[in-house]
């Protein structure tokens, strides 16, 4: 074809090199371009904010424990899903997730909108012993999380790492990270500042004297899917 034969490439190192580069570049461009145009595909909705420090740590624990192996966090745009779980997930809702937790395995239900569905007490009780509350459940017990103190000395570093990949944490938020984390993990603390920085953050009860990993996980679960208020979001624009 076009006078170029396989032999041309086989006999000419430079041609082989350039040819290889061209072929790999085609694949590369197809993979890389969407990343640069992501701004054009993420919906502009109000309400999505970066995770509070406690939620961020909870998310780490969610990832560490592999909750995503049984739970997805993506309500697909299909009627049955919307009827069961609520409004379909939109890209903007996971724009501060690194990496996102959409998942594809559903041994348990989707968790994209589980925030606020149950009380804190239920979340604690259910994570410690799912079968106490849902007898037929096959979710593992995570009681040890209630006894594991949360490591949060490095919380500012973790937030900076997120900022490096595009999560817009402000200097103020990073400076107040520890205070915010403690305020959210103790029902008796004043959380006015926390709520100013992270609207809709749910204060968890904190059963132990120290902040535990379970506190962080519950704070994370309780915010899932609650940030965008779909009642006053222009769904026609989402539908484009």
């Amino acid at each position: 074809m076009f006078g170029i034969k396989q032999e041309t490439f086989e006999k000419n190192t430079l041609a082989l090199l350039v040819g290889t580069l061209v072929v790999v570049a085609i694949g590369g461009i197809i993979e890389v371009v969407p990343v640069f145009t992501i701004e054009t595909t993420v919906e502009h909705v109000r309400g999505v904010r970066p995770y509070s420090p406690l939620e961020l740590r909870g998310r780490d624990i969610y990832v560490r424990e592999g909750c995503y192996l049984c739970h997805s966090q993506q309500i697909r745009a299909l009627r049955d899903e919307v009827e069961r779980y609520g409004h379909y997930s939109i890209a903007a809702e996971s724009m501060y997730d690194h990496p996102f937790q959409w998942g594809s395995k559903r041994i348990g239900p989707d968790l994209a909108r589980v925030g606020g569905k149950y009380s804190n007490d239920w979340q604690y009780g259910h994570l410690m012993a799912p079968r106490e509350l849902v007898p037929q459940s096959l979710m593992p017990n995570y009681a040890f999380l209630a006894e594991t103190p949360l490591e949060y000395d490095d919380i500012a570093l973790r937030m900076r790492a997120n900022r490096a990949v595009g999560v817009p944490y402000t200097d103020e938020q990073i400076a107040a990270a520890k205070d915010d984390l403690i305020a959210q993990a103790d029902a008796n603390e004043d959380n006015a500042n926390l709520l100013k920085r992270y609207p809709k953050a749910v204060t968890v009860s904190g059963h132990a004297r120290q902040v535990t990993e379970l506190d962080a996980l519950v704070a994370y679960l309780q915010v899932l899917g609650t940030m965008v208020n779909f009642a006053d979001t222009n769904t026609e624009r989402l539908a484009q």
Binding site: V33, T41, L78, R79, R84, K117, Y118, D121, V134, A239
Partner: protein
């Protein structure tokens, strides 16, 4: 490397014409059918890319010639079922509880909507068919904290208990022990009396306990422990108890009471669905 295509004498097939140090290579092209299927796939993919949303550009993605959007599709599908159900759901929404109950087919529809909604949203706390668990009230019995009439149940489901809703039901028992308003011996005495109400043999200081009870507890729990649904004071003269029926549970609650939370459902469920749920819960056995 001379290029000379020749016929291989052993297999009878052509060679590629390449030769390295006397080694030659048979020319074995891909089967024709494979090649054409492959090419057909490429053409099909190109067609898909043209017809459906595909390539992202810097100004937005290419929407495809058909203008297809899964989000439009799902909105349409959701509306279509909503329309199918509209007649029933609107009637449930518009009619009073009495009118719904007077119409058996409509009541049946409401009860099945209620049953399905209950299984997805309420069962994780209240148990299958509302059997309840420690900390989560049973709904199939006739002991109610906030009332078991249809209107009371509807109110509880809509606004929740100690929820974020501004019309939430709420009550807070003081921590008599932890705050020091009752001394340990006094708490024991109150427990002596209350365990009698629970149906256990009363303790030896029950008489003293009763006095303390009237002074401290009766305003919410009723002077005979019959409860007060206006205030959400649970009945104590009963055998059904939220946090357990033994003396330890009584003492724990006097010392540092637990306060359960039920979410408000008005943000997640529409009014007719909550009404159906109310009828279902009411039908579980304890409705008043």
């Amino acid at each position: 490397m001379p290029t000379k295509v020749e016929k291989d004498s052993v297999s009878g097939r052509l060679t590629t014409g390449h030769e390295w140090d006397g080694l030659k290579e048979l020319n074995t092209p891909l089967p024709k059918w494979w090649l054409y299927v492959f090419l057909a796939c490429v053409v099909f993919a190109a067609g898909q890319m043209l017809l459906y949303p595909s390539v992202p550009f810097f100004t937005g993605y290419f929407p495809g010639l058909l203008g297809y959007s899964q989000r439009v599709e799902v909105d349409r599908a959701v509306q279509a079922v909503a329309q199918q159900r509209a007649e029933t759901v609107n009637r449930i929404g518009a009619l009073s509880f009495e009118q719904i109950r007077a119409d058996p087919p409509l009541l049946n529809a409401a009860l099945s909507i209620g049953r399905i909604t209950f299984a997805e949203n309420c069962q994780p706390c209240h148990g299958t068919e509302g059997t309840g668990r420690p900390g989560y009230p049973a709904l199939g019995d006739d002991v109610w904290i906030w009332g078991g009439s249809l209107a009371a149940i509807q109110q509880t489901i809509t606004h929740g208990v100690r929820s974020e809703d501004k019309d939430t039901r709420t009550s807070a028992m003081p921590a008599f022990g932890a705050l020091g308003s009752l001394k340990p011996a006094e708490m024991e005495a109150v427990a002596d009396y209350v365990q009698g109400l629970f149906g256990l043999p009363p303790g030896k200081n029950a008489a003293e306990g009763q006095k303390l009870f009237v002074d401290n507890c009766a305003s919410c729990h009723g002077d005979k422990g019959q409860g007060n649904q206006e205030l959400g004071g649970p009945p104590l003269a009963s055998r059904v108890h939220l946090y357990g029926g033994d003396r330890a549970a009584i003492l724990a609650q006097i010392n540092q009471p637990k306060h359960g939370v039920m979410p408000a459902w008005n943000a997640r469920l529409s009014a007719p669905i909550i009404k159906s749920l109310t009828l279902y819960v009411h039908s579980l056995g304890g409705g008043q």
